[in-house]
């Protein structure tokens, strides 16, 4: 678990009304990856972070923030 990193994926998903599975399918990862990134248990690579940001059409800094 990365103590320095926070993310807004859960909030963004609720705003866009999409499930973890839908987001996972859209960016080509497993639902487990999204679930663990969302709960902060797993820190994704830059590629996944950028794909998530691109999906929500916002800069990556608005998805992931340093605490």
């Amino acid at each position: 678990m990365n103590e320095d990193l926070d993310n807004h994926i859960h909030k963004l998903r609720l705003q866009h009304k999409i499930s973890q599975q839908e987001l996972a399918d859209a960016i080509g990862v497993s639902r487990k990856t999204i679930s663990t990134v969302e709960t902060g248990r797993f820190t994704p690579s830059v590629v996944i972070a950028l794909r998530i940001a691109a999906y929500f059409a916002i800069p990556v800094e608005q998805v992931f923030v340093l605490k």
Binding site: Q20, V29, S30, R31, K32, T33, T39, F42
Partner: protein, 180 residues
């Protein structure tokens, strides 16, 4: 020329889960054999239970191995043989479990290599022999490998369910507010 396969992340997840189960079943088989050697000729019922456990573990291991072979067509050769996956979390779980297994094997092997034939060690592990100690080390390593995989993958399922319940609750509460 290498085959190019479009591997689904869920397929990799299923394959790793089967690998974890095979490891746990293999550990049950190894520990069952060890226990069987101690209790041989003592208690008939215990012997019967242990023999049954070994038999079931062998059958289940074969069934799981056959199941895992079906994934050969749907997964990359690298993933199938070396447990290196494209999906990041699945690969993270696989790497972490292999790392733990490797550490157990290396530390255990160093210990057995240098102290395996020492008198105090032979007396300590009696009635087991050095071969049994190696078998125990192997059992411990595969048990750790399988348990870590199954634990990490299962734990996330609970968390996801929690998330979805929470989301559903929030949505329902939101709808109620709108109705009012």
């Amino acid at each position: 020329m290498a085959r190019s396969i479009a591997v689904l992340p869920e397929t990799e997840h299923q394959y790793l889960t089967i690998t974890g189960k095979i490891s746990v079943v293999l550990a049950v088989f190894l520990f069952g054999q060890l226990c069987s050697e101690i209790v041989t000729g003592t208690d008939l019922v215990v012997n019967l239970i242990l023999d049954l456990t070994i038999f079931v573990s062998v059958i289940y291991c074969i069934v799981l191995s056959v199941k895992s072979m079906k994934f050969a067509k749907h997964i990359t050769r690298m993933g199938y043989w070396t447990l290196k996956f494209n999906d990041e979390y699945v690969d993270h779980v696989s790497s972490a479990s292999l790392r733990a297994t490797c550490h157990i094997m290396v530390v255990g092997a160093i210990f057995l290599a240098y102290s395996g034939d020492n008198r105090w060690f032979v007396e300590l592990i009696a009635p087991f022999g050095l071969r049994d100690a190696i078998q125990m080390l192997l059992g411990l390593a595969v048990a750790t490998h399988g348990a870590l995989i199954l634990w990490n993958l299962r734990e996330e399922e609970h968390r996801e369910e929690d998330n979805f319940d929470e989301e559903l609750g929030n949505k329902k509460r939101g709808e109620e507010v709108i109705d009012e």
